[in-house]
């Protein structure tokens, strides 16, 4: 279980003075084991900052973030991140990119390759193992990113607007693929998004955040049954929750 208590984060002002930007202000929430939590909010609400704190990539000022009671002080083998801009190594082929986390953890070479190969197949990139990232479409690149994160078999998957830069069709395909994978091997997921459809479709709960300073406005339960697919979007509950999110987001929008 991920527990976040009174979490605050402030970024120093541009000139290093004390007029910093409060990115997160006393966040309180928890994510249960194997739960899929989606986080949505207007841009600048600190969603990504929150994710990076849970990932252990940046420090926080006040409060506590803990996983199964252990405070987060840095990255750990229990977590893996899927990045918005994929963050693939452009000089390395698909297999090497997928095996990255395993090699960092000093897994023997042969075992690395076997595991990476299994993940490449899982995300449907068989036959592309030796391709370079630049030879792949955006959707395929993010499947590499997903495979790389899953390869280290983390308990917790942290996804930072992973499909945000993809076109609509590709995004839908990847959402379905993610749902299938997640339903097969359950993990705890925190999924940042700016798409209301995506938030409702994927999440067991949707955490709605307010803009600067980022606070938890509300956590909304999504009682849609699983397995979900794009037919789910036709259900009344789906439409209702999406509509509710939109009402809230619209009232926050400054632009």
């Amino acid at each position: 279980m991920i527990q976040v208590r009174g979490l605050s984060k402030e970024f120093a002002g541009r000139d290093g003075t004390d007029t910093g930007i409060v990115a997160l202000d006393s966040l309180d929430f928890e994510v249960r084991d194997n739960e899929f939590l989606t986080v949505i909010g207007p841009s600048g609400c600190g969603k990504t900052t929150l994710l990076r704190i849970v990932a252990g990539l940046i420090p926080y000022d006040r409060g506590e973030v803990s996983i199964n009671g252990t405070p987060v002080t840095g990255p750990g083998p229990d977590r893996a991140v899927v990045f918005q801009n994929f963050a693939l190594m452009p000089w390395a082929d698909v297999l090497t990119n997928v095996a990255f986390g395993l090699e960092i953890r000093d897994m023997p070479k042969a075992e690395c390759e076997a595991t990476a190969m299994r993940l490449v197949k899982l995300v449907g990139l068989e036959g592309f193992e030796r391709r370079l990232p630049k030879e792949l479409s955006g959707g395929m690149q993010q499947r590499v990113g997903l495979a790389r994160a899953l390869a280290v078999n983390p308990r917790i998957l942290l996804m930072d607007e992973p499909f945000g830069s993809l076109d609509e069709q590709t995004r839908r395909l990847l959402q379905e693929q993610l749902l299938r994978i997640w339903e097969r091997e359950r993990k705890t997921v925190i999924f940042i998004t700016h798409s209301m459809e995506e938030a409702v479709l994927l999440g067991d709960r949707v955490m709605l955040m307010t803009p600067r300073p980022g606070r938890v406005k509300e956590i909304i339960n999504v009682p849609l049954k699983r397995p979900r697919g794009h037919d789910t979007e036709k259900s009344a509950t789906f439409v209702e929750i999406k509509e509710y999110l939109w009402q809230n987001l619209r009232s926050m929008q400054v632009a």
Binding site: L57, Q84, N85, A87, P90, L132, S165
Partner: protein
């Protein structure tokens, strides 16, 4: 959304100025330009009949004589020995210092002023000092080659490391990579294209340093020959030496380029 690979690829355009430094690839336009240039040279040489512009054929004659007498080979060996040692020192020190400056703010802050001052100032200014330190030895011309080529390698390597996509470093951190792993697996490969741009520039400057050192201080190798024939107004011989130096420069550049191409095929 910009992708990491494309970002790195875009950083390529620092290149060596002057078409002559490019390895001569077999495009017909280049061949035509070369033939045309030689023909023009030959023609002007005969037409003007100036002592400072011998026709191309006379220069070639002198070159053939040099080669046959063994003068060229002996001096090329001397020059290249200095170049190899001097450039190797620049390469090792340059990459090391550049990498440290690129990765660690403090190191960069401490060394920035020295590196840039030495990069900007004319390298020959230090020649008398080296002479005073090392006396009449090969160390002087090697030191000259080092000051010519070292700083551009440092500066490019620093920039190369500094401009590595931070998303990649963050990605590595998220998988628990330690400092060594970040360096070897991310910073090193990601910075290669820009690092090589620096190595290429450094190589060009090293050849310049080699000749200047030999012409004005050490009085050995090709530089000494050029100096001697230049002051004796033996233009065709001076030109012949210049041709040899040109060929050495091209070959050196071609070697660097070949290594670079084989290591950075992933760049668009």
């Amino acid at each position: 959304m910009a992708k990491a690979g494309v970002e790195v690829g875009k950083m390529r355009p620092i290149s060596v100025p002057g078409a002559l430094w490019r390895p001569l690839r077999g495009t017909w336009m280049e061949a035509l330009a070369l033939v045309g240039g030689v023909a023009l040279w030959e023609m002007l040489g005969w037409l003007l009949a100036m002592p400072w512009l011998p026709p191309f054929s006379k220069v070639m004659e002198a070159l053939v004589q040099f080669v046959q007498s063994g003068v060229i080979l002996a001096n090329v060996v001397v020059s290249l020995q200095g170049l190899a040692i001097g450039f190797s020192i620049s390469l090792v020190v340059g990459l090391l210092v550049g990498a440290l400056m690129g990765r660690y703010r403090r190191v960069e802050q401490a060394l920035h002023i020295y590196v840039h001052a030495l990069f900007i100032s004319p390298s020959m200014i230090f020649a008398p000092i080296f002479f005073a330190i090392f006396g009449l030895s090969d160390a002087v011309r090697i030191a000259v080659i080092v000051v010519y080529s070292l700083f551009v390698i440092i500066i490019n390597t620093t920039t190369a490391i500094r401009t590595v996509d931070p998303a990649l470093v963050e990605m590595a951190c998220s998988f628990g990579a330690n400092e060594r792993q970040i360096f070897v697996r991310i910073l090193l490969p990601a910075s290669l294209p820009l690092v090589f741009a620096g190595i290429r520039l450094g190589m060009g400057r090293a050849v310049r340093g080699m000749i200047n050192g030999e012409m004005f201080i050490a009085m050995v190798g090709l530089g000494a020959l050029a100096q001697r024939y230049g002051s004796q107004f033996e233009a065709s011989k001076a030109f012949a030496i210049a041709m040899v130096v040109l060929i050495i420069a091209l070959v050196c550049n071609w070697i660097v380029q070949t290594v670079e191409n084989s290591l950075t095929q992933w760049v668009d």
